[in-house]
């Protein structure tokens, strides 16, 4: 009779860590919370002390390619350095802390991509990845970006006029609003898998514009910045940019634009309607309930002493071009 003797050092099937758990080990440790010290852990200031659990091998950088476009006129205000624009992002799909998207989105796959234009239109169509760069004339637009959190940047976007896309779709008389939707792909977007990482918001992220806002020449669909295609943390491969509204309106990584009759639901408005309105026009006279919107910190070069607080302008300084859209509306109520 064969007696199978096992050595103490032999592993049993039950001793083997499931591959899924093994592959996600860093995330699991991160998600344990560390008595809430997560914020401490993730700032680079503490990195040297707490590096034990950190992932110190950054994944390969997302590959950006150079774009051909019509350059914009020089802008009077100093541009935010590219390095800051691509490392300071609110894109909760890749983590709710601003440094996280640049770290967690580098493996994001944007090709193949499909942007579906649908709803109340005569000519619904789909833009595949290559179409995003070839269907419309690409031009540079240097815009101020004002976040609802009262900081701002100046970014040289590359994109095409949203109005051109609308015209191509030939909206019907019923089309009063545009409903935008971000990709929903929890496999690729860790914030959609994990409520803590994703800041507790429901996905997919939704935004909307009124038809006349979408037709305004300032509104663009951006596919690039600083001369190159968008990196994932800034909304690759295609995002909306509406510079007279708070940044959260400029939805990222868009997969759907649906023309609709009624005002569509929007993510931050669903979450806290008293704090974030559908219009979300930059307005120094209407404070966020928890902070002032009268001024902002402009992010440019330099360290902590170089932060410049400047007055916030109505419609982020684009009043001449857009104030007419809101004639007769009470912007204190319709914030």
């Amino acid at each position: 009779m064969l007696i199978k003797s096992t050595n103490r050092s032999d592993s049993k099937e039950s001793d083997v860590t499931d591959e899924k758990i093994y592959l996600n080990r860093r995330e699991i440790v991160r998600n344990m919370g560390f008595l809430g010290a997560g914020t401490l852990l993730s700032t680079s200031a503490a990195a040297s002390v707490f590096d034990l659990f950190g992932d110190d091998t950054p994944p390969a950088l997302f590959k950006q390619t150079n774009l051909e476009f019509t350059p914009d006129k020089p802008f009077a205000e100093e541009l935010t350095p590219e390095e800051k624009t691509i490392t300071h992002n609110n894109f909760y799909e890749f983590g709710a802390q601003k440094h996280q998207p640049a770290e967690l989105a580098q493996g994001f796959k944007v090709d193949p991509w499909q942007l579906k234009i649908s709803g109340e239109v005569e000519k619904p169509f789909t833009l595949d990845y290559d179409d995003l760069y070839s269907s419309f004339d690409l031009e540079e637009r240097i815009y101020r970006l004002r976040c609802v959190e009262a900081w701002s940047m100046v970014v040289p976007w590359i994109g095409f006029s949203l109005a051109d896309l609308v015209k191509k779709a030939k909206p019907t008389s019923k089309a009063k609003y545009l409903a935008f939707e971000t990709l929903y792909d929890p496999k690729q977007m860790p914030g959609q898998r994990n409520r803590r990482l994703g800041g507790g918001i429901d996905y997919p992220y939704l935004e909307g514009l009124r038809m006349d806002e979408a037709m305004n020449p300032l509104a663009i669909m951006s596919v690039g910045l600083y001369g190159k295609t968008l990196p994932p943390q800034n909304g690759a491969p295609i995002r909306l940019v509406v510079p007279w509204k708070y940044g959260f309106k400029s939805i990222k990584s868009v997969v759907g634009i649906k023309f609709v009759e009624k005002q569509p639901p929007t993510t931050w408005n669903i979450l806290a309607a008293n704090e974030y309105g559908f219009y979300a026009n930059v307005n120094p006279d209407v404070d966020h309930p928890r902070w002032s919107q009268a001024s902002e910190r402009r992010i440019t070069t330099g360290g902590i002493f170089a932060q410049n607080r400047i007055a916030t302008l109505p419609f982020n300084g684009y009043g001449d071009q857009v104030a007419g859209l809101y004639k007769g509306m009470n912007l204190r109520k319709l914030y």
């Binding site: 700032t43 806290a272 001024s295 360290g303």
Partner: protein
């Protein structure tokens, strides 16, 4: 079994606590000044010192239950310094807000403190904490006699206000603040007898 810590070791352990508390702060400002804290160092220094103050406050509340449970009497000798470091971090938190966020716009600073409930709550906690820090000086403590303990029981309120301030300050990321709510509840749970004692004393 009680764990005895040699009195000789205490100064070395205290030095260790000083280094552990100060190093992150020094490193933080060094990186902030040399522009190595990402695109918006202002946000980082504000959050880091705020969370740091709250962590230290909760650690200070953990000391007496831990000393009792593990029977390490020497732990109590570290409570004051940890409480004072909570104050130092809170002071930095507010100075960061004043100097780097509102950039010495005093009118804006005052408006924000009075108009924004979460800042009002945070400032209330800071003023109370300042009172505790000042009265932690041994001479004053002796003069205050029994009143000292009454005043220093406010540390439970301060920690609660700190947790509320954190919860109220976030946009939607409530999980981390909720962890702090839980930790606070546990720390107060250790003291349920003391809290019930206050209730009974109150005239009906």
């Amino acid at each position: 079994m009680a764990i005895a810590v040699s009195q000789k070791a205490i100064p070395y352990l205290k030095a260790l606590v000083h280094i552990t508390a100060l190093y992150p702060l020094v490193n933080l400002y060094y990186q902030a000044i040399s522009d190595r804290l990402g695109a918006d160092p202002v946000e980082v220094v504000i959050h880091f010192t705020g969370i740091g103050a709250l962590n230290l406050l909760l650690i200070s509340l953990l000391i007496s239950p831990a000393a009792k449970f593990f029977k390490i009497g020497a732990l109590i000798q570290f409570r004051r310094m940890i409480g004072l470091y909570a104050f130092v971090y809170a002071l930095c938190h507010i100075l960061n807000f004043l100097s780097f966020e509102v950039q010495f716009d005093l009118q804006l600073f005052i408006d924000e403190v009075f108009e924004r409930p979460y800042i009002t709550v945070g400032m209330t906690a800071f003023l109370l904490l300042t009172a505790l820090a000042v009265t932690s000086i041994a001479k004053i403590r002796r003069k205050m006699k029994k009143n000292w303990q009454t005043l220093h029981n406010f540390t439970y309120l301060i920690a609660l206000l700190g947790v509320v301030h954190f919860y109220w300050s976030v946009k939607s990321e409530i999980i981390e603040p909720l962890i702090y709510v839980g930790l606070y509840a546990i720390l107060m749970g250790f003291r349920h007898q003391k809290v019930q004692g206050w209730r009974k004393k109150r005239p009906q």
